[in-house]
Symmetry: C7
Subunit: 92 residues, 7 copies
């Protein structure tokens, strides 16, 4: 079943990763008890633009800029739509 949110341009849809997964992957964000967590999984990517090709694909675990993006709720789950420029790195 394909995901129902299709980002425009060089945007991506990401979903926050739960604390348990974060421990497994080895990433912990400093001060995360006080701040919004910054690690997430990409669930959908836009087509990109002429200026900015997509470097990300669905399934990538990523770290992103705090405060970036717009939160939406879809089918009972919370997602964030964000510009690829605000994604800092892929975590493997």
């Amino acid at each position: 079943m394909s995901f129902g949110i299709k980002p425009l341009g060089a945007r991506v849809v990401i979903k926050m990763v739960e604390a348990e997964e974060k421990t497994k992957s080895g990433i912990v964000l400093p001060g995360q008890a006080k701040e919004q967590p910054q690690m997430a999984e990409v669930v959908a990517v836009g087509p990109g633009t002429e200026e900015e090709k997509m470097e990300l694909k669905a399934g990538d675990k990523v770290v992103f800029s705090k405060y970036a993006g717009t939160e939406i709720k879809y089918a009972g789950e919370e997602y964030t739509i964000m510009s690829q420029k605000d994604i800092l790195a892929i975590v493997e």
Copy 2:
């Protein structure tokens, strides 16, 4: 009957989607009781520009940036004219 508002450049005209439709499509915007809803349907699109081709077409359900666009009332209905850049994603 064609729609009477023709956006210039890479702009679109959108119409807010009522709460009932939002439930059917599965999208709920967090805190929407307090804030202006961010989901809408595209009713008209401009020709685009050389820098920015149109990715949207009339009928697309979209999520957009809060506070973007200019509201107008036409034939008794409220619409918003908005730059395509402020449209975040298509929701299917």
Copy 3:
């Protein structure tokens, strides 16, 4: 008789449309009792620039960004000179 104000670059000269005409065309701007009306008719267009071709022509009914443009009085009538970029849409 040609109109005596020739806009430079990608600018246009517009004239506010009276409330009666607005009703006929079906456009009503929300809150217009409190704010400056945003619908107008194009009376003159500049030659455009290499970056921005003219999409508008004299006679077009348009909706424009609030607060944009410079007002002048010419031959007893009030006009606004405005960048084409501040014109949002043509209303038919």
Copy 4:
């Protein structure tokens, strides 16, 4: 006798038009009793730049953006040096 101020780039030198001439040409600027008048005559133009060709020539009557430009006094007369981009329209 050629005029002694040669603007650089895409700048022009303009001279404010007196109230009498303004009445003849039919242009009146709203609120001009309170604000600095915005109509002027071009007295010299620069060579332009690669990005911006000159659209104006000496003798053009123009309307310009309030607050734009730098005032100088030359041979007992006051002039304003201004970027062509701040000239809104030619008035005929």
Copy 5:
């Protein structure tokens, strides 16, 4: 074992250099008792972009702009993800 954080675009992952190493390399940052140290080692580099090729490689000792970058904790260690533009110089 390859490093598990892959920066996107022209970003790098750096790790602060301890005070002991700083003494060996001869670099001391003024006021470092009060401010966050500005010397680090590059541990991973992104692919670069068309506008900005990568000049840095893993292992480079670098000096960087104060306050730049985003801190993350990975496998128990603290790192900073930073744009290459915020790296000032390589120290040998």
Copy 6:
């Protein structure tokens, strides 16, 4: 004897013109008793850049933007180093 300050890029070195010279050339700057005078002579020019060719040469009398440039003292004289973009016009 060549002048010892060589501006980089599209910068120039200028020297303020004394009040006596200003009277001869016919330029008087309004309010100059209160403000820093804006007329000067070019004493050295940089090589220019690809984006901005030099239009000025040493010896040109110029009018410039207030507050632009950096003042230096060289061989007992005060000069200002300034971007050519801040020079408004040549006065003949």
Copy 7:
């Protein structure tokens, strides 16, 4: 012995010139008792970028924009890493 700090991009490393040298070269900066001196010697230059070729070389005496650059201490000496764009002129 080559200098151990290699600037990235179009940056340079400069070292402040002492007051004695300043007197010899004839440059005195106004108000320098109160402000940070603005004259320096270039000790290392970066490779430049496609947009900005290097105009400076090690050994050049330069005047630079106040407040520009980042100070570092290396082998017991203080240096400043600075963008070439913030260097105003070479003093001979």
